[in-house]
Amino acid sequence: MSTTILLLTLIFPLVGTLINGFWGKHLSKKVSGTIATLAIAASFVTSCLFFAYIQDGEPVKVVLFEWMKFNYFSIDFGFYFDQLAALWLMFITGIGTLIHLYSTSYMSHDENFSKFFTYLNFFVFFMLILVTGSNLAMMFIGWEGVGLCSYLLIGFWYKNQDYNNAAKKAFIMNRIGDLGFLVGIFVTGYLFHTLDFIELKEQSFLAPTLGIATMAFFIAATGKSAQLPLYTWLPDAMAGPTPVSALIHAATMVTAGIFMITRLNFLFDLTPDVQHIIAIIGAVTSLVAATIALVQNDIKKVLAYSTVSQLGLMFLALGLGAYEVAVFHVITHAFFKACLFLGSGSVIHAVGGEQDMRHMGGLKKHMKITYATFFISTLAISGFPPLSGFFSKDEILLTAFHHNTVLWVVASLASILTAFYMFRLLFLTFSNKFRGTEEQEHHLHESPSAMTMPLIILAVLAAVGGLISIPGSSWLNEFLKPVIKNSATLHHHELGTTEYLLMGLAVVGALIGLMVAYFKYIKNKQVPVNDNNVSGLQKLFANKYYLDEIYMLIIVNPLNFFGSFFKKQIDGLINGVVLSFGRVPSELSYQGKKAQNGNIGLYLFAFVIGVCGLLYYLFMCY
């Protein structure tokens, strides 16, 4: 496989960025959008070529030059293309192309059109670096780079300071994780004297401090992949344009944490304690986010919490050592969640920027394609067979059941809730009558084909994507074998009665969720009340467990307080001490000056005393 083609995969998005960045303003919107889309599409083509090659080819490592050098090891500026990277390359560029296509239509009225595509291309570029970096430091370039682009895109409508706040919050929350990543890198580098994935895989051994490294990496993952306790930025990140939410905050960037842990599976396998923590955090996050999603009224917020919840399930799988299962769910989730987000974008587009579901409803009639694709994706995420979500989610539940019943119960509960809130979303948006203003109703329309095309493709993928890993004969598991050192899932594939029973239970759970939503929102035609009028558990959910407020109280406020305290009190104090070094002599001399008052008597008196002292010292002191 020629390395030029591989590098072209990375270079295309960068070229797109540079063209749009430097000359975007002089290009027409059509040209600008086309260039950006083509850049990713070209990347997709080369990715496909590589994907075809890697089916039975060897991974390729490309080293461009030595990047950093320390006295006992060096870090290469290099790329590593293997099976895992191939999977991610495929769906990043694939979904990326679709979303770019979608955006050309969605963003067509925006004044900063070319800037949007600059950032979007830049994001894809960094994401590709993240998945193809040959060592941890290279991965970190992508890791922070996607954070940068996420910052730029969330705050894309920069005139609104709320959006800017959301962007800032996302970046800072991610930075907390990034510090974890750095600490992980340091410990790894110190222990194994290399950061290269291939060398790490061969040389890694269990060291006492390895747990710190893996824990630090996990903290990094909780930042990027929005897990407890750092997930709060993701719902806020919905301030960005909807395609951004679809691409970055659903399909690709947030899966970086899963990618990284899968990449480092050999390290995590050595530290089972950390794996337990990952599993627990994943399960808890999935349940917590699902409960919050129950009562959200903003269509994108529901999807955001749903993303957090699904990511939680993936981390559960990772924590149980079932890396392939997590990867499987990443892929299927990318399909249906991207579809859902783009569908919601289509809806928002139709109703003129309204995002509150209480002001929607009855859109079924006006937007048939959107509704159909949305419906398929909802079925997929809820886990109805034989759609993709069923297979991937079920495998996670199966794995959980084999390890720990409690985790299985928690995860199952989260799945049932998922079915409920997704159908709630579907019914509130598309069923019954339209609840918005007259003007909006008049305006309702199906989106143009540039937007519906990606929806259809993604819906199809969401429907059939599960085929890549059917229980029993999993293509994915075979494909990922070289990447994953020891897999925990392989022996689960002999399907027995228990497994079928569990699958049945999961389907029944999803059905329960569906039925409850159906009765509540279609039969009884309920509409959620204002957040201020809810009580009890609902209030807790609606306020997101007061997590933002708690962070405000225990982290942000103390920081601000100490900042002011240091600025006003401590700095003043230190300055006072410093200046007193100057003041003391000057004050002393000022006081001393007073003794020189011209009174000869005083001088003489002092002289007499001095003479007496001297005499005493000289003659009488011994």
Binding site: G601, F605, V608, V611, C612, L615, Y616, F619
Partner: protein, 168 residues
Amino acid sequence: MIEILFYILSAVTLGSAFLTILSKNPIHSAIWLVICFFSIAGHYALLNSQFLAMVHIIVYSGAIMILMLFTIMLMNLNISDEIAKPIVTKIIATVCFCLIGFFLVSSLAQTAPALETYTQTGVDFQTIQVLGKVLLNEFVLPFEMAAILLLMAMIGAVLISKKEKKTA
């Protein structure tokens, strides 16, 4: 005999010095000071340094004291002009006097008495001839300097006490 002379002279010296300070009238002070200087000249004579005794009388009792008397009279000072110092100052002055006196005397008392071990060679060292030779050989430069100093003092005194013109 000499001892008695010494004690009498000492008594006169100290007494007249005290009275110089204690007299309210500056003229009286000046007169007591003259007596004091005479008695010191007597001490010099007792110590067999005739030259100094004579110079002392000429310079101090003659020149300096006359100068002082002239000044006092020129200023027409009398008793009422001087406001007595506050009593605290006087006490402090007395304390100082006692302190320094005590410390000087007691530090001297620490040293060994010298009379028993003292011997003399009898060399002539203080007749006018000897002094004149020393003064004009070894100390000729300081001698000339002293002359210049006196000249400068004279010019200075004239310059300072000259009446300023009222132009400024």
